[in-house]
């Protein structure tokens, strides 16, 4: 069944790499010990965890001891925000972030607001780009943390993290970046980026679901998010998810090897799809920056049609995509990202995101270029807006 289908939703999740699955296999019931156990079952598991930690550290040019494994991107983001906020509340109660972060950042920020923290949402331009100068202007003597995502999951825009990091470092303020969409996709180097904290989620880079990590630069003042046993050097309680960690390690190792090839493979496909759709469909708009953009992200708005109905039609043709329209959400609000970059509601509802991956072929792109304009056409014929 999979064979006929075209998966273009790699920003949502990726299939685990076959080598990842192979690497994990022994750790469910053969080498199944608890890494905290002193006996041999435990020590075998411990070695596997530490080897994986090394590999994940390599992916982002960090030191092994700076990697704390978590259950995924959301936990890493929660940990970063709440861990810094609770540990540094004596120093200040001000956090700076952007309006286009993933909910895993904005929701913890809004929660901390209920506990007396102040949150500044920086402006972004029409591409969703943050101006480092705005970060500088927003800093106060109460600022304890700046969190700006490396690349946006919906519109693909890549932020000037290095520059922002220079500013925060100079100001002596902690800087977190959500690299969930970039690790394994484009170069990520914690030193070049001047970050103190960085989130990764394994399932976005052909690793398993339910595992991720937070990079914590040595010396960063944090309280644990998951309080419990002394695991992860007292930074994160809970029995380590050994198979998950091993799978993550393998995925990181593969990503290091394949990084250049991945970009070289995806960039022309991305640009062909963007160009093709723009040419074939009138009243279409590219969301996000044309070049400072994830190599696999095609996010566009098509006027007069609604996202979910495009998505369902694509799904009927065996093509998996995503939409920033949120007719199904309780608020009926479309994506906060699309609204933040200035798309009017009506247009924001008409968005589609194709996110390509390792296995995407030019033929897949051609199929979408063939099928999708017909879908938009069909829906526009049905739309009371198009006639006007």
């Amino acid at each position: 069944m999979n064979e006929k289908r075209i998966y273009m939703d790699h920003a949502a999740t990726t299939p685990a790499h076959p080598e990842v699955i192979g690497a994990m296999a022994p750790y469910f019931s053969d080498i199944f010990g608890n890494p905290s156990s002193i006996h041999s079952f435990g020590q075998e598991a411990r070695s596997a965890v530490e080897e994986a930690r090394e590999k994940v550290a390599s992916l982002i040019n960090a030191k092994k001891e700076e990697i704390v494994f978590t259950s995924g991107g959301t936990e890493s983001d929660n940990f970063a925000i709440k861990g810094v906020a609770f540990a540094n509340s004596k120093k200040g109660n001000h956090i700076i972030t952007t309006p286009i972060e993933h909910h895993a950042i904005t929701e913890p920020c809004e929660f901390m607001k209920t506990l007396g923290f102040d949150i500044t949402y920086l402006p972004v331009d029409g591409y969703g780009m943050v101006d480092p100068e705005d970060v500088k202007r927003a800093l106060t003597d109460k600022t304890i943390l700046v969190s700006v995502m490396h690349a946006n999951n919906e519109i693909g825009t890549i932020q000037p993290i290095d520059e922002i990091g220079r500013i925060t470092r100079e100001a002596g303020v902690y800087f977190h970046t959500d690299a969930v969409q970039t690790a394994g996709a484009i170069p990520v180097d914690v030193n070049k980026m001047n970050v103190d904290l960085l989130s990764i989620s394994a399932h976005k880079l052909y690793g398993p679901k339910g595992i991720g990590c937070l990079y914590i630069k040595k010396g960063t003042k944090m309280v644990p998010f998951m309080h419990g046993g002394g695991q992860e050097k007292n930074r994160r309680g809970s029995t380590e998810n050994v198979p998950g960690i091993v799978g993550f390690g393998k995925a990181a190792e593969i990503a290091v090897k394949e990084l250049d090839a991945r970009q070289a493979h995806l960039l022309p496909l991305r640009d062909k799809l963007i160009k093709g759709l723009s040419e074939k469909i009138d009243h279409s708009l590219l969301n996000g920056h044309p070049t400072k953009r994830l190599p696999n992200n095609i996010s566009m708005c098509f006027e007069f049609v609604e996202g979910e109905s495009m998505l369902l039609n694509l799904d009927m043709e065996g093509i998996a995509s995503s939409t920033g329209s949120a007719c199904s959400s309780a608020t009926l609000e479309p994506s906060h990202v699309l609204l933040s970059i200035g798309r009017p509601h009506a247009i924001a509802h008409g968005s589609i995101r194709f996110s390509l991956g390792r296995m995407t072929t030019e033929k897949d792109v051609d199929t979408v270029l063939d099928v999708f304009p017909k879908i938009v056409d069909k829906l526009r014929k049905m739309s009371p807006l198009y006639k006007r």
């Binding site: 007069f304 609604e306 369902l312 009927m316 007719c327 199904s328 959400s329 739309s383 009371p384």
Partner: protein, 140 residues
């Protein structure tokens, strides 16, 4: 996130009665682009009977399916019969809707009532008594 019934998907894939009626006797126009759903319902009325019903919809899968379903349910019915068809009946006819999508059925009911209201206004000078579209989709 929606997991639609087969009935919904059938009406979404093959919507019934899509289009406009150029010389419609009544037009219901409901929703707005801000909230992501707009329905237009066109009716022809003869001897108090809905002889033709057509729709155009901008919206999600449920919005299209409920529009399609309501046209099917009311076509050939008298106005009184049609007015008895609630949003609930539309949902049932579709074998249910995900909770987050129930508002679409309200929209469909309102579009129908809006069209009948328009017809009554045009033909009798007085609209449908008590008709007031739900505030489910306030413009922003």
């Amino acid at each position: 996130m929606p997991a639609y019934s087969e009935k919904v998907m059938d009406h979404f894939k093959n919507p019934r009665n899509v289009g406009e009626i150029p010389d419609a006797d009544g037009i219901g126009h409901i929703g707005n682009p801000v909230c992501g759903d707009i329905m237009e319902l066109y009716i022809k009325v003869k001897d108090n009977v809905l002889t033709d019903v057509k729709f155009k919809t901008f919206g999600c899968g449920a919005a299209i399916a409920t529009s399609s379903m309501i046209t099917e349910l009311v076509k050939g019915k008298t106005l009184d019969e049609a007015l008895k068809i609630s949003n609930r009946a539309v949902v049932e006819a579709l074998d249910g809707l995900p909770p987050a999508k129930l508002h679409c059925s309200v929209l469909a009911e309102d579009a129908l009532k809006g069209a009948i209201d328009d017809y009554l206004k045009k033909s009798t000078g007085k609209g449908l008594p008590g008709f007031k579209p739900h505030e489910e989709h306030p413009p922003k």
